[in-house]
Subunit: 114 residues, 2 copies
Amino acid sequence: MVKASVEMEQAAVILKLLGDRTRLTMLKLLDEHTCCVCEFVEIFQVSQPSISQHLRKLRDVGLVKEERKGQWIFYSLNKTNTYYTFLVPLLEQLPDQRYRLKELEENGTRINCC
Amino acid sequence: MVKASVEMEQAAVILKLLGDRTRLTMLKLLDEHTCCVCEFVEIFQVSQPSISQHLRKLRDVGLVKEERKGQWIFYSLNKTNTYYTFLVPLLEQLPDQRYRLKELEENGTRINCC
DNA sequence: TGCGTATATAATCATATAGTTATATACTTA
DNA sequence: TAAGTATATAACTATATGATTATATACGCA
Protein backbone atom coordinates (compact mmCIF):
# COMPACT_ATOMS: atom_id res chain seq x y z
CA MET A 1 0.00 0.00 0.00
CA VAL A 2 1.19 3.47 -0.84
CA LYS A 3 2.10 5.54 2.17
CA ALA A 4 -0.27 8.42 2.64
CA SER A 5 1.51 11.72 2.56
CA VAL A 6 -0.94 13.69 4.68
CA GLU A 7 -3.37 13.01 7.47
CA MET A 8 -7.09 13.26 6.89
CA GLU A 9 -7.78 16.11 9.27
CA GLN A 10 -4.86 18.17 7.96
CA ALA A 11 -5.81 17.50 4.36
CA ALA A 12 -9.32 18.81 5.03
CA VAL A 13 -7.91 21.99 6.58
CA ILE A 14 -5.66 22.59 3.56
CA LEU A 15 -8.44 21.84 1.09
CA LYS A 16 -10.82 24.21 2.85
CA LEU A 17 -8.22 26.94 2.41
CA LEU A 18 -7.90 26.06 -1.29
CA GLY A 19 -11.66 26.14 -1.66
CA ASP A 20 -11.73 29.88 -2.13
CA ARG A 21 -11.31 31.45 -5.54
CA THR A 22 -9.01 34.21 -4.30
CA ARG A 23 -6.68 31.96 -2.30
CA LEU A 24 -6.59 29.29 -4.98
CA THR A 25 -5.61 31.82 -7.62
CA MET A 26 -3.00 33.30 -5.28
CA LEU A 27 -1.40 29.90 -4.84
CA LYS A 28 -1.39 29.21 -8.57
CA LEU A 29 0.33 32.54 -9.14
CA LEU A 30 2.80 31.99 -6.31
CA ASP A 31 3.74 28.59 -7.69
CA GLU A 32 5.69 30.40 -10.40
CA HIS A 33 6.16 33.93 -9.15
CA THR A 34 6.69 35.97 -6.07
CA CYS A 35 4.03 38.59 -5.41
CA CYS A 36 3.51 41.34 -2.89
CA VAL A 37 0.33 42.34 -1.14
CA CYS A 38 -0.37 45.41 -3.24
CA GLU A 39 -0.18 43.36 -6.42
CA PHE A 40 -2.85 41.03 -5.12
CA VAL A 41 -4.99 44.00 -4.16
CA GLU A 42 -4.74 45.22 -7.74
CA ILE A 43 -5.38 41.77 -9.23
CA PHE A 44 -8.39 40.82 -7.14
CA GLN A 45 -9.91 44.25 -6.71
CA VAL A 46 -10.65 43.80 -3.03
CA SER A 47 -9.49 45.74 -0.01
CA GLN A 48 -5.91 45.44 1.25
CA PRO A 49 -6.99 43.96 4.61
CA SER A 50 -8.92 41.27 2.78
CA ILE A 51 -5.76 40.23 0.92
CA SER A 52 -3.71 40.37 4.13
CA GLN A 53 -6.20 38.09 5.84
CA HIS A 54 -6.11 35.54 3.04
CA LEU A 55 -2.32 35.53 3.10
CA ARG A 56 -2.29 35.14 6.85
CA LYS A 57 -4.39 31.99 6.61
CA LEU A 58 -2.06 30.53 4.01
CA ARG A 59 0.94 31.51 6.10
CA ASP A 60 -0.54 30.08 9.31
CA VAL A 61 -0.60 26.59 7.79
CA GLY A 62 2.81 27.09 6.25
CA LEU A 63 1.76 27.06 2.59
CA VAL A 64 3.35 30.42 1.87
CA LYS A 65 6.24 32.35 3.31
CA GLU A 66 6.98 36.04 3.38
CA GLU A 67 10.08 38.07 2.84
CA ARG A 68 10.30 41.77 3.39
CA LYS A 69 12.16 43.77 0.78
CA GLY A 70 12.18 47.39 1.77
CA GLN A 71 8.70 48.67 1.96
CA TRP A 72 7.15 45.61 0.35
CA ILE A 73 6.52 42.16 1.69
CA PHE A 74 6.86 39.49 -0.96
CA TYR A 75 5.02 36.23 -0.63
CA SER A 76 6.04 32.94 -2.21
CA LEU A 77 5.12 29.29 -2.02
CA ASN A 78 6.86 27.48 0.78
CA LYS A 79 8.14 24.52 -1.18
CA THR A 80 9.65 22.88 1.86
CA ASN A 81 6.26 22.59 3.53
CA THR A 82 4.86 19.12 4.20
CA TYR A 83 1.78 19.90 2.15
CA TYR A 84 3.60 21.16 -0.91
CA THR A 85 3.63 17.71 -2.52
CA PHE A 86 -0.06 17.51 -1.80
CA LEU A 87 -0.56 20.84 -3.53
CA VAL A 88 1.50 20.27 -6.66
CA PRO A 89 -0.72 17.87 -8.65
CA LEU A 90 -3.62 20.12 -7.84
CA LEU A 91 -2.06 23.36 -9.00
CA GLU A 92 -0.82 21.66 -12.15
CA GLN A 93 -4.38 21.09 -13.25
CA LEU A 94 -5.39 24.72 -12.89
CA PRO A 95 -5.33 27.17 -15.78
CA ASP A 96 -2.29 29.39 -16.03
CA GLN A 97 -2.78 32.75 -14.34
CA ARG A 98 0.25 34.58 -15.70
CA TYR A 99 -1.98 36.81 -17.79
CA ARG A 100 -2.90 38.54 -14.55
CA LEU A 101 0.69 39.57 -13.98
CA LYS A 102 0.96 40.69 -17.60
CA GLU A 103 -1.99 42.98 -16.95
CA LEU A 104 -0.18 44.48 -13.99
CA GLU A 105 2.90 45.10 -16.13
CA GLU A 106 0.76 46.87 -18.70
CA ASN A 107 -0.80 48.98 -15.97
CA GLY A 108 2.60 49.73 -14.50
CA THR A 109 1.48 48.28 -11.18
CA ARG A 110 3.76 45.25 -11.18
CA ILE A 111 6.37 45.48 -8.44
CA ASN A 112 9.80 44.21 -9.41
CA CYS A 113 11.71 45.03 -6.31
CA CYS A 114 15.53 44.92 -6.28
CA MET B 1 1.99 24.62 -21.87
CA VAL B 2 -0.06 21.88 -20.25
CA LYS B 3 -3.78 22.19 -20.81
CA ALA B 4 -5.61 22.89 -17.59
CA SER B 5 -8.19 20.26 -16.85
CA VAL B 6 -10.53 22.41 -14.78
CA GLU B 7 -11.52 26.02 -14.55
CA MET B 8 -10.54 28.11 -11.57
CA GLU B 9 -14.02 28.83 -10.29
CA GLN B 10 -15.12 25.20 -10.59
CA ALA B 11 -11.93 23.97 -8.94
CA ALA B 12 -12.60 26.23 -5.96
CA VAL B 13 -16.13 24.88 -5.65
CA ILE B 14 -14.88 21.29 -5.68
CA LEU B 15 -12.08 22.02 -3.23
CA LYS B 16 -14.45 23.73 -0.84
CA LEU B 17 -16.54 20.56 -0.84
CA LEU B 18 -13.41 18.49 -0.17
CA GLY B 19 -12.45 20.81 2.66
CA ASP B 20 -14.66 19.04 5.13
CA ARG B 21 -13.46 16.03 7.09
CA THR B 22 -16.67 14.07 6.67
CA ARG B 23 -17.00 14.59 2.92
CA LEU B 24 -13.31 14.02 2.28
CA THR B 25 -13.39 10.72 4.16
CA MET B 26 -16.56 9.73 2.31
CA LEU B 27 -14.87 10.30 -1.02
CA LYS B 28 -11.79 8.34 0.00
CA LEU B 29 -14.02 5.44 1.02
CA LEU B 30 -16.13 5.68 -2.13
CA ASP B 31 -13.02 5.60 -4.29
CA GLU B 32 -12.74 1.90 -3.51
CA HIS B 33 -16.13 0.88 -2.20
CA THR B 34 -19.80 1.52 -2.54
CA CYS B 35 -21.52 2.67 0.65
CA CYS B 36 -25.04 3.40 1.69
CA VAL B 37 -26.31 6.25 3.84
CA CYS B 38 -26.80 4.20 6.99
CA GLU B 39 -23.20 3.01 6.85
CA PHE B 40 -21.99 6.58 6.80
CA VAL B 41 -24.27 7.41 9.71
CA GLU B 42 -22.63 4.58 11.65
CA ILE B 43 -19.10 5.56 10.60
CA PHE B 44 -19.31 9.27 11.31
CA GLN B 45 -21.65 9.17 14.28
CA VAL B 46 -23.76 12.06 13.11
CA SER B 47 -27.45 12.28 12.30
CA GLN B 48 -28.86 10.71 9.15
CA PRO B 49 -29.98 14.08 7.70
CA SER B 50 -26.46 15.40 8.14
CA ILE B 51 -25.10 12.54 6.01
CA SER B 52 -27.85 13.00 3.43
CA GLN B 53 -26.98 16.65 3.12
CA HIS B 54 -23.28 15.97 2.62
CA LEU B 55 -24.10 13.40 -0.05
CA ARG B 56 -26.46 15.81 -1.74
CA LYS B 57 -23.71 18.39 -2.09
CA LEU B 58 -21.37 15.81 -3.60
CA ARG B 59 -24.13 14.62 -5.91
CA ASP B 60 -25.08 18.14 -6.97
CA VAL B 61 -21.61 18.71 -8.45
CA GLY B 62 -21.58 15.22 -9.92
CA LEU B 63 -18.78 13.76 -7.81
CA VAL B 64 -20.90 10.85 -6.62
CA LYS B 65 -23.82 8.94 -8.04
CA GLU B 66 -26.54 6.98 -6.33
CA GLU B 67 -28.19 3.67 -7.07
CA ARG B 68 -31.15 2.32 -5.20
CA LYS B 69 -31.04 -1.32 -4.27
CA GLY B 70 -34.21 -2.26 -2.50
CA GLN B 71 -34.53 -0.29 0.64
CA TRP B 72 -31.00 1.10 0.48
CA ILE B 73 -29.44 3.75 -1.69
CA PHE B 74 -25.83 3.03 -2.51
CA TYR B 75 -23.45 5.82 -3.32
CA SER B 76 -20.31 5.51 -5.40
CA LEU B 77 -17.76 7.77 -7.03
CA ASN B 78 -18.84 9.01 -10.42
CA LYS B 79 -15.68 8.17 -12.33
CA THR B 80 -17.01 9.63 -15.55
CA ASN B 81 -17.30 13.09 -14.00
CA THR B 82 -15.09 15.88 -15.37
CA TYR B 83 -13.57 16.44 -11.97
CA TYR B 84 -12.67 12.85 -11.30
CA THR B 85 -9.18 13.27 -12.76
CA PHE B 86 -8.80 16.32 -10.57
CA LEU B 87 -9.77 14.24 -7.57
CA VAL B 88 -7.60 11.18 -8.14
CA PRO B 89 -4.12 12.50 -7.26
CA LEU B 90 -5.65 14.06 -4.20
CA LEU B 91 -7.36 10.94 -2.89
CA GLU B 92 -4.24 8.91 -3.56
CA GLN B 93 -2.36 10.91 -1.00
CA LEU B 94 -4.90 10.34 1.75
CA PRO B 95 -4.54 7.56 4.30
CA ASP B 96 -6.49 4.40 3.62
CA GLN B 97 -9.89 4.38 5.35
CA ARG B 98 -10.79 0.73 4.85
CA TYR B 99 -10.40 0.09 8.55
CA ARG B 100 -13.66 1.97 9.00
CA LEU B 101 -15.50 -0.60 6.90
CA LYS B 102 -13.77 -3.39 8.80
CA GLU B 103 -15.18 -1.93 11.97
CA LEU B 104 -18.66 -2.00 10.46
CA GLU B 105 -18.22 -5.66 9.54
CA GLU B 106 -17.16 -6.44 13.08
CA ASN B 107 -20.21 -4.60 14.40
CA GLY B 108 -22.44 -6.37 11.92
CA THR B 109 -23.56 -3.01 10.53
CA ARG B 110 -21.98 -3.36 7.11
CA ILE B 111 -24.59 -3.58 4.36
CA ASN B 112 -23.72 -6.01 1.57
CA CYS B 113 -26.84 -5.84 -0.51
CA CYS B 114 -27.53 -8.42 -3.23
C1' DT C 1 -53.04 -2.41 3.87
C1' DG C 2 -50.28 -1.25 7.78
C1' DC C 3 -45.75 -1.25 10.15
C1' DG C 4 -40.83 -0.90 10.25
C1' DT C 5 -36.64 0.67 8.05
C1' DA C 6 -34.01 3.76 4.95
C1' DT C 7 -33.51 8.09 2.95
C1' DA C 8 -34.64 13.04 1.69
C1' DT C 9 -36.22 17.50 2.67
C1' DA C 10 -37.67 21.55 5.51
C1' DA C 11 -37.02 24.53 9.25
C1' DT C 12 -34.03 26.23 12.57
C1' DC C 13 -29.78 27.53 14.96
C1' DA C 14 -24.95 28.28 16.32
C1' DT C 15 -20.71 29.05 14.36
C1' DA C 16 -17.42 30.03 10.60
C1' DT C 17 -16.16 32.85 6.85
C1' DA C 18 -15.02 36.70 3.86
C1' DG C 19 -15.63 41.09 3.29
C1' DT C 20 -15.63 46.03 5.04
C1' DT C 21 -13.84 50.32 7.71
C1' DA C 22 -10.78 52.15 11.19
C1' DT C 23 -6.45 52.08 13.08
C1' DA C 24 -1.65 50.59 14.21
C1' DT C 25 2.94 49.48 12.66
C1' DA C 26 6.99 49.59 9.62
C1' DC C 27 9.72 51.31 6.08
C1' DT C 28 11.35 55.21 2.63
C1' DT C 29 12.41 59.54 1.56
C1' DA C 30 12.39 64.52 1.68
C1' DT D 1 11.73 64.13 12.08
C1' DA D 2 7.53 64.43 9.31
C1' DA D 3 4.86 62.75 5.36
C1' DG D 4 3.75 59.12 2.32
C1' DT D 5 3.35 54.25 1.15
C1' DA D 6 2.81 49.28 2.35
C1' DT D 7 1.14 45.96 5.36
C1' DA D 8 -1.14 43.96 9.60
C1' DT D 9 -4.59 43.77 13.00
C1' DA D 10 -9.07 44.82 15.34
C1' DA D 11 -13.86 45.37 15.24
C1' DC D 12 -17.87 44.65 12.89
C1' DT D 13 -21.34 42.68 9.59
C1' DA D 14 -23.72 39.87 6.20
C1' DT D 15 -23.78 35.46 4.49
C1' DA D 16 -22.51 30.53 4.27
C1' DT D 17 -22.07 26.28 6.55
C1' DG D 18 -22.90 22.12 9.21
C1' DA D 19 -25.43 20.33 12.62
C1' DT D 20 -29.98 19.25 14.80
C1' DT D 21 -35.12 18.03 15.11
C1' DA D 22 -39.41 17.30 12.72
C1' DT D 23 -41.55 15.49 8.91
C1' DA D 24 -42.29 13.43 4.22
C1' DT D 25 -41.40 9.78 0.97
C1' DA D 26 -40.14 5.10 -0.61
C1' DC D 27 -39.49 0.34 -0.12
C1' DG D 28 -40.07 -4.53 2.06
C1' DC D 29 -42.70 -7.60 4.38
C1' DA D 30 -46.31 -9.58 7.44
